[in-house]
Point group: C3
Chain length 155, copies 3
C-alpha cells in the first residue's frame, strides 16, 4: 500500500517536498490518538509562493484550483512526515478546511478547493474522500490565494 500511494504520486508526476520544519511556536502537525491535524498549508513550492492574489479579481478559478492542489501536496508531505515516511499508514483523509482569498462577488470557492479534494482522491482513492468546508476570506497570510488545513486518520 505504501508502494501503491508512492507509485500513484509518481504516476501523477508529484514529488513531495521536504516537510518544512517548525518555524515558530506552532508546528506543522500534531498527532492525537489516531488523528493527525496538519496546520494550514500555503501554495508554496521550495519555499517560494506560487500563487498570490484574490479570486474574482486577478485570478481565475483554474489559478485557484492549481493553488489548492499545491496546498494539498504540502498537506501530504506533512502527513508523510507524521507517518515516519510511510504513507500506507494513512487510513482516511478526514477533513479539509479550505480558505479562498475572495472578492465579495466570488462564489466559486468549491471549484477552487476541488483542486485539493481531487488530488486527495487521485492519491489515496476512496480513503482520500473527506468532509470539507470551503469559504471565502478577504485576505490570507503573505497575500496567498488559498490556504488549506487537514485532518487525517492514520494507523
Amino acid at each position: 500500500m505504501s508502494n501503491q500511494v508512492e507509485a500513484r504520486l509518481k504516476e501523477l508526476g508529484i514529488e513531495l517536498p521536504q516537510a518544512p520544519a517548525p518555524a515558530a511556536n506552532y508546528v506543522p502537525f500534531v498527532q492525537t490518538g489516531n488523528l493527525v491535524i496538519v496546520s494550514g498549508q500555503l501554495p508554496m513550492v521550495a519555499g517560494e509562493i506560487k500563487s498570490l492574489g484574490r479570486l474574482g479579481n486577478t485570478l481565475t478559478v483554474d489559478d485557484g484550483y492549481q493553488a489548492a492542489r499545491i496546498c494539498a501536496i504540502n498537506l501530504i508531505a506533512q502527513v508523510k512526515a507524521a507517518c515516519g515516511g510511510d504513507l500506507s499508514k494513512v487510513k482516511r483523509v478526514v477533513r479539509l478546511g479550505g480558505f479562498v482569498n475572495s472578492t465579495a462577488d466570488f462564489t466559486d470557492q468549491p471549484k477552487v478547493i476541488n483542486g485539493a479534494s481531487d488530488l486527495m482522491a487521485e492519491v489515496f482513492g476512496d480513503a482520500g474522500k473527506h468532509a470539507r468546508a470551503a469559504v471565502g476570506v478577504p485576505s490570507l497570510p503573505l497575500g496567498v490565494s488559498v490556504e488549506v488545513e487537514g485532518t487525517f486518520e492514520i494507523s
Copy 2:
C-alpha cells in the same frame, strides 16, 4: 431515545431531507472513531437555495437565523445517515463552525449562528449543546448567506 429525537423533530414540524449523495471528491461526512465530521452545509431545501445574500446589507439578523437553522437541519440529516438512520446514536453535538456572509460592519454573527445552535438544543436537549466558532466571511459558495459545519460524537 431514537423515538425521542424523532418525536422532537416531529413536534418541531421538521422533516429531515434525504442526505444529499456525494457530488465530488469529497463526501458529506466522515466517521473516525466515535466522531462524525460533517461537511459545511448550506441553506438548501430540496436542492434549492433558500437564502442568498449578505448580512448587514440585504439580509436581516432573522433572515440569517432562519438560514442557519436550515443548515442545522441539513447537518442533522447527514448525521442521521452516518448513524444508519438511528439518531439515538448521537451522544453529543461536539462543535459547530459557523460562517456568516457579512459586510465589514456586521458584528452579529453569534445571533445568526444561534439559529443552528438553538435547533441542536431543541432537538437533542443537553446533548445538543456544543462548542462553536462564529465568524464573518466576505463570500460563500453559490452566494449563500450562511454555511455551518459540524462535529458529532456517536455511539
Copy 3:
C-alpha cells in the same frame, strides 16, 4: 506538573479569569474522549472587550498580537475548567484556529496569531506547540479584532 503550569502562569503575571458560564445554546467547551474543543474566544477581560477594530486599518500588528494573547488566556481558563481545575491534565495543545479581523490588504495574520501561539509555548512548553490555521475575516462578533478557538488533548 500542575504546580509547574500554575507557577509558569504566575511568573508570566497571568491571572486566569473565571471561565465564563454558558450564555446560550452552546457551551464554552465540550469534551469528547481525550479531546477538549473550546469555543472561539474573544479578547475580553472581566467581561469587557479589550480590542475592537480591524488589522490593516485602525490597529497595529502588536495590537493584534496582544489581543490574540488575551484570547489564549481565555482558552486556557476554559481548558482549566474542563480539567476540573488541574492544568497538569493538559497533554497537548492540539490546534488553534485564529481569525483576524482584516482589511483586504492585511497579510500579517501569522504575526497576529503568534500572540496566542507564543503564550501556549510559554505556559505549556513543548506540549504547547500546536497545529494552527490563521486567516483573515472581514468582521467578527461584537466588532472584536481577533477570535481564537482551540482543541486540547487531556488525560
